[in-house]
Symmetry: D3
Subunit: 331 residues, 6 copies
């Protein structure tokens, strides 16, 4: 199975060693974004993956391309235009101190200002079996919104699988009209989608489906409405100071939840994308729901032990840790 993702590439700039921006003039630079993260992880797993995005037509775009190639992602669908890349500063939290993310201008990035004419969507659809679209594209600009809709439509019409993740942040869409507008956007894209990542909260708060005691019912109703093949996501559980993560996964007939896994967190960003990559691996290889959800959840656990947003795990590594609980040294 060949995968492509449509989404923004961003610069992540973080001070080293849990320092604040006031405490150092050293930054670590990474290239990231939901699409990058998932395609990189799937490439590490051995799949062929591509990225569909617009990078700035300058040194930063060239370097971004190098890094994307380094992750094993095919770079042939990349476009180069305009001169700005979105960025965010991440001051890594420690203990009770939260990680503080500060976004810099995303709306005027090369990705943000590019409409669907900038891309070769037909090539993307022709070559790949599954197209991943990140929900953030629906929130960003008119251009990214229409590009997302257009790509979803073309992929679906070509009989390719469309994978979509909600990535909806209510805090960014607080005006009532804004919420109604966003609901409409999501409702427009969902009919094209086969695999969806999200939470019950996305269903109730964004799609305004009826809240219910029975989560299964809610999810199955959602899957029915939009003819969704797989629906998946994670839950975080706090037991005192100790955090845990659990994955869930539904197909049209069955459902599975993973073991609840203790988290030891080096980097607080990026586990959701690792979970998604794990689920897509299971989808590609026809694993059982149970195997898939355990694999994906452990992949997310491991992503939290790796610096940066990009989960550089391999299949072998995830399986080794699943099969050897407590293993802490391999030689």
């Amino acid at each position: 199975m060949r995968f492509a993702a449509f989404g923004e590439v961003m610069l992540r700039l973080s001070p080293p060693e849990y320092l604040l921006l006031d405490q150092t003039n050293e930054l670590r630079m990474d290239y990231t974004g939901t699409g990058v993260n998932i395609m990189a992880n799937l490439a590490q797993f051995g799949y062929r993956t591509s990225l569909v995005t617009v990078l700035p037509d300058n040194r930063l775009g060239q370097v971004a391309k190098s890094v994307i190639a380094k992750y094993g992602i095919n770079t042939e669908l990349l476009q180069f235009a305009h001169h700005h890349i979105g960025s965010y500063f991440a001051e890594n939290g420690y203990g009770q101190r939260p990680t503080q993310v500060t976004y810099q201008n995303r709306h005027h990035s090369s990705f943000g200002v590019s409409s669907h004419e900038a891309y070769d969507f037909d090539a993307a659809v022709a070559v790949n079996d599954l197209i991943h679209i990140c929900g953030i594209s629906l929130s960003l600009t008119d251009e990214t919104r229409s590009s997302a809709h257009e790509l979803a439509k073309r992929a679906a019409e070509a009989g390719k699988k469309v994978c979509f993740d909600f990535n909806f942040r209510p805090s960014l869409n607080t005006e009532p009209n804004k919420l109604a507008f966003m609901k409409e956007q999501y409702e427009m894209i969902l009919p094209y989608c086969d695999i969806v990542f999200g939470s019950t909260r996305d269903l109730t708060d964004l799609l305004q489906m009826q809240r219910t005691e029975n989560e299964d019912e809610l999810i199955r109703s959602f899957m029915e409405t939009y003819q969704i093949e797989w629906f998946a996501g994670t839950k975080r559980i706090s037991a005192g100071n100790q955090k845990q993560l659990q994955g869930f996964l539904y197909n049209r007939k069955e459902q599975a939840v993973s073991t609840s896994r203790e988290l030891t967190i080096l980097d607080r960003i990026g586990a959701g994308d690792a979970y998604a990559a794990g689920v897509l691996a299971g989808y590609a290889d026809n694993w059982s729901l149970a195997d898939t959800v355990e694999f994906a959840a452990m992949n997310a656990v491991l992503a939290h032990t790796i610096h940066g947003d990009v989960p550089l795990t391999t299949k072998e590594q995830v399986l080794t840790v699943l099969e050897n609980p407590g293993i802490d040294l391999i030689r």
Copy 2:
């Protein structure tokens, strides 16, 4: 309320990443000291603060001035004389390995050899509403001792608040005569003081007040004797491997203790100064004792999650963490 602090500025030199001094030739350089720490934190909280000290009249003094300005502290009361700054090396501990502090010559520092004639105490008193004096000045040299007494006296006579912290280390004053001498020094300064930071151990071991089962009684007796307005401090609790911190605070009528907070510690130095800054913020803004002690204790908890001695927290950050337990990512 405008604050000034009298105290030594020191260089803190620490190897990176929990390395020992034998393992690297890289050091991180910070400028620190109780006065710097508290004034910097209050400046971050939005108050106007000044530092009253003598820095070396060379490149190190110039750089120290820059860093003090960077913390948002007013630099107009700084003096420049002599050529030496006190320093300490901190090898950061990990797990059972203690942080190892090695002091370098403090007695001959520009601060240590400067008597009160070196300062413009009248300007310091005129401009500010509260003067903080660190007890370590009473231990250091004859010059710092007499300066501390002189400043406390002038501030009190001018009707300004005097804040004092015991900072007494019995291990540094083991000769019997030394202890008697130190007791006398503390007894001389306390009548000028309004707000005092310390522990019941300071009262019994240094001031040699009667030990008692009832801590409240002991503290109230101390406050009565010296007409202290606020007395505050922290306690550390070890529950197995897990450490906790709790703050307490007395005024002449009431008292409050904070929630006992679990500690996740990045840097083992500096939480006491963060607690003091938190209490002074509550004092300045007339918060209730209960609100003050919760804020101050959480500020101390967060100080342990920040590299170095200087607590770079903001009011908003402390309140966010108090109001959103378990929050680990802000974007």
Copy 3:
């Protein structure tokens, strides 16, 4: 003499040790901009300086404020609004390899989108004796353009000195209409100006004054037209592999050129601002043109030996090097 500067604060991000962006994920972060550079240098020289700008109302703005304070610049005229700071990446050149600067979106920065209502220009004018305005403000956005005009006008009307530097880059303004428009902008602001930094090329290419063999005549004609008090700039001379820098300075009666100084360059950006700061020091202290131009040129030479754009020289240091040619170690 008290100085204020109006201009953008930018993030400069550079890889260490002459590495390319492809070769490392480490960046050094500096806060810079013509206004920052000149005010920081004048503060190092002992003058009181302020910065008039809009910083983003987020962590990056707070950190920028700290750094500006660290440079000894007064921060009371800073405003905080919007969420974006302009930035540029500098890959430091070596030998024949040029330094490569890549700008990121400046037009939508907090400074770029702020009109003059965002500032307290009256306070800026009231407190200071000389206002520096960078010509780049005339190129950036409608908002920065109108702010520059407004501030120049108010300062001139209040009888304060206005200092302006051309900073015109023909390569950025290649459309014919654009050039005519820019000419108009410059002609509008020059009547308010007393001290101007530029080159004869600015006079001929931008203002379209008549080219002439006799540079003096051209400059004197320009100074006459706009009633300019001082006009100054630098020239670069290449003798084979060796580069040299020479400063010139005109008042209404006299003129002076500095010794031509060999350059040994650590950082290829920022010498022009150092030259300007040197000239302004001579202006403030009524030095002779000859003394001023030697000081300013040596200051520019030293700026090239310091990392980053901000010239952290002191008066004593510049004079020491002028008076002790070849000195390479001070202890």
Copy 4:
């Protein structure tokens, strides 16, 4: 008591801050090996120690010698020949992510290709009271195997103590004949040995002694067979997420186990060598078994809190932590 160790010096190359090799081009370089680790630790404890090995006759050998001298180990028995040093890359694990060790060619290292003629074993035996031999020498090459046997024999014949650690990794010796061959090698060297470090698993899996419920019986039978004076080792206990370490120690009459100590781990490699160094200190100074085992176990616990394989603890530090449970700051 004077100690010498026979064993390989290796380069350990690790990325900083828990990064993967894909994420950085920075490496930390350390010189390590069981012999280095134990001799360095004993030198820190105040004993005179030597290393008996062959280093490459090039810059890497020279630097290795410097580092060995830095650890306080005598360098007079070092030999320099050939041009290769063994190395391994350690990607430090975090949480559930295991530390990943990747070995580079050890068989062709200067140590690996040197036979016993390369050494001055007589000098080593003459000067020292105890010779430590690492079991890995028996697995490496024919040359290291015969050197180990020869040295053990000469030391025993000279009446010196021989200390041996099993260091047997079944995973490296999976072919049946290989195991039989290795068993033979171990059986050949054990008769020369006085102090042995290992586990019951070494006795059953390698020496193929009878498995039994009663570990004591098994160990005593082993000690009897080979006339072993002291047998010692550690056990790891996992209680949920929390790991613990416990040491055991047998002499011909008695036995002792240490308190089970919680582990907070900075570096997952090297605790076994720290335990061995602690036991040898007790042996040298005639401490009781109980004191020895507590000291050695705490030394191993502290080794896990120090970067790299070399345990840079001092006797005073170990005792301070034993005597002051929970101490986290020394000044």
Copy 5:
């Protein structure tokens, strides 16, 4: 034109900032080798390139693959076997202090021990138009020697261009028989070659052609003997302290020499490969000899201003510097 190179990938490990290995435990890790260098540079120039080599089947091989992809080189012809990668330590010289290179075991590397069966040479030949073979393969091991011969033969037979560089180091081959053996090896491969990089010294010292005053004659005789299409190389000229580089290039009819270029050297390794890449670009695009040799020489000059062996120049950059002598800042 599509290019492939056959050659070893090595780890280059260098201390930062001109430090010696004794002075730091920090190393910078790069992946390099003649094939990597030339293919990476050609990829930067916009050509499609591949690498034909064997990498270790472990973490180091995986990371090497990522880095090769980052350079824009196609990774489909890479093989993974065995567990060792060759490495060298480079202590960067400064002024009169030479760069000191220390090689670690290359003979037992995955590349060194792999014979031609390990490769898919037919695929390499089928897809590409020009195969580059590095002369060092003839010196390394029997396996690399026979692989080089085999590949050259198959490429020639398939009508593809074969490019070969002498890379002969007399100091490594001092025994007389060794030299005769090496001469034979080179004579065996040259008949398959179309483009050759070398020096007249290679022709006289290795091939033992007659020394002559007239270099042209010697070179033309060599080209005639082996039917070489292009022969190229560089000369170093020292004028006092100043070093210069000049390129030369012969085809069957003409010849050209470049301007002699002053060198300002950041890294003393890798300029020869940059020169080769420049010549191959001219060959691929049918530039004149004169244009080619100027481009290639300037590319070599720029390679000396970039850290590491891999020349990360672009065509645009080389042309910009050629066309704008003295340009030192691009923005």
Copy 6:
């Protein structure tokens, strides 16, 4: 020949990459001092060397000891007392910007406050053939002064060679009485000395010998007066921007000057000690004056190409560079 040096060990703290102390909080820590530098260099040359000093009895003293051992210097004559080590900050200059050295309190260092009773001078004299004493000891404190005199006397009386370097800085001794006092101190120690490093300026300005056109006469008169066996030093020559270094050397009969060598300087401190080490190597091995002075001058030239004060050159390296002018890469 076995060497010992008496002198202070200091911490050198320098920001990386030519940064100013205002620009970074990173420092590089080195242990240095004239005695350390010369003994380390002689150890690199293959001689047995020792250091006679007092180090602080704390972590800094322990680490200093490790570093001294790393340099190959014997540590048995080290003493540990008091708690302070002298330090200096070196901001490395670049081009016209001078290196700025800022000393921290040396007078109260463990070395500065230790009188001759603190040392085992008899052991130092017994074991070694030549004792080096640095003139700075005569300027520092009464304790170091009397220790220097005592050690010179005992060494001379035991028939051992005494080597002394003037190291006199007129700028530090500007009061007339101070100069007279210092003259007396130098006159007291010189009669015990055999080898002296200095300049004619030391003879005229400090010893107040008659100035003369004829330097030889002056030097021979000095050597006669104090029965000096060898007198040596260096001269710096500036030819425009280019600096050169030349060594001179006198014995009782002959004299020699070295080739004047161009300097390319990475670190501006420490070449004098390298020159001294080179001369002492020639003295120990009975080289001709001409060979000695060439070797010593090139050693000084190379010391300027190495970071820090400690010249880590080897004999082989110096000879290689002497014999292969222009060599810039060794592999």
